[in-house]
Symmetry: C5
Subunit: 86 residues, 5 copies
Amino acid sequence: MLLARVEGNVTATRKHPSLDGWRLLICQPLDKAGAAEGTPQVAIDAHGAAMHQKVVISSDGAAARKSVGNNKSPVRWMVIGIVDEP
Amino acid sequence: MLLARVEGNVTATRKHPSLDGWRLLICQPLDKAGAAEGTPQVAIDAHGAAMHQKVVISSDGAAARKSVGNNKSPVRWMVIGIVDEP
Amino acid sequence: MLLARVEGNVTATRKHPSLDGWRLLICQPLDKAGAAEGTPQVAIDAHGAAMHQKVVISSDGAAARKSVGNNKSPVRWMVIGIVDEP
Amino acid sequence: MLLARVEGNVTATRKHPSLDGWRLLICQPLDKAGAAEGTPQVAIDAHGAAMHQKVVISSDGAAARKSVGNNKSPVRWMVIGIVDEP
Amino acid sequence: MLLARVEGNVTATRKHPSLDGWRLLICQPLDKAGAAEGTPQVAIDAHGAAMHQKVVISSDGAAARKSVGNNKSPVRWMVIGIVDEP
């Protein structure tokens, strides 16, 4: 699981049908000082993360498929928590 | 899942039979500013992505095997969406 | 599995319910000289690792799901050992 | 899946028995310009790839285990195609 | 699978019980010239690899769990071969 910051979202009219209705967020992994590090991941989100919010994301495909309710879905990364910030 | 740009394609006469008839695209992962970052992935594509188009790709082997209809296929990465561009 | 140092923890009020009650540690992977290398992973911990302690972490989702007792959990990385230090 | 160039091979007298009789190729991932990028992977090969040839490799363990015919094998990366070159 | 050099070992009194009795080696991935590249992996070893020896390591969790004989183990990386050296 990675600590990441929401940096945007992706709109795709043509996509795998299992992704219909899901937000696809561009999540930038962060180093321990909060700076960007590594390639952004595109993740689905059911928690309502806002732009620039810090989140925890996970690459677990099995759990993501259960979230979208489609066991043939190619979905993998998902937002699994919104980090509390002061 | 990664945001990527299609940068070419691979032709391979000798290949795993499950890949027959599939386009193999060279997909360059992008950072949040749209610049190339990290090693390109070779992905199958059923959405008809064009050269230089932005796509979302996923590493999910289970879904990719279902797409090619062969549960012994070594396929993993696939294009799962074409990003809308203005 | 990676050698890592605990560099902090994440608090997330909104999160996947399977993570309730689990510590989420920010674990910085280390190179062979003990210097930080690569992106930190967020890992669950049942061993009571302290701040700045060296740990071994694993990305195995199947084992992590068994640890949290929820086979739909998106959890992946977990602390699997605390490194002995002189 | 990665585009890679064969850069050598590994000989290991002591190895997991499922690897007996398989070539173990050192495959250097390539960027879109064909330059080396990232850490080489050791892959099994059933296609007869030659030194310096370009190949496509996949990390799929399930397919690799079926290729070696041993469902306890730790094998993962395999050559899945030989790239046509002019 | 990665070509790596054994650079040390980890001692952990507190660890997942499935790791009891297993050596945990710090394995530094190598580039094609034999130089260190990337983050070291901690791997179990049943082949008796010595300090500074070159090995092949694999991330396959299913095979590693069979090796330790515990299907709940979080173990992933293991030494799967010792490279012959002149």
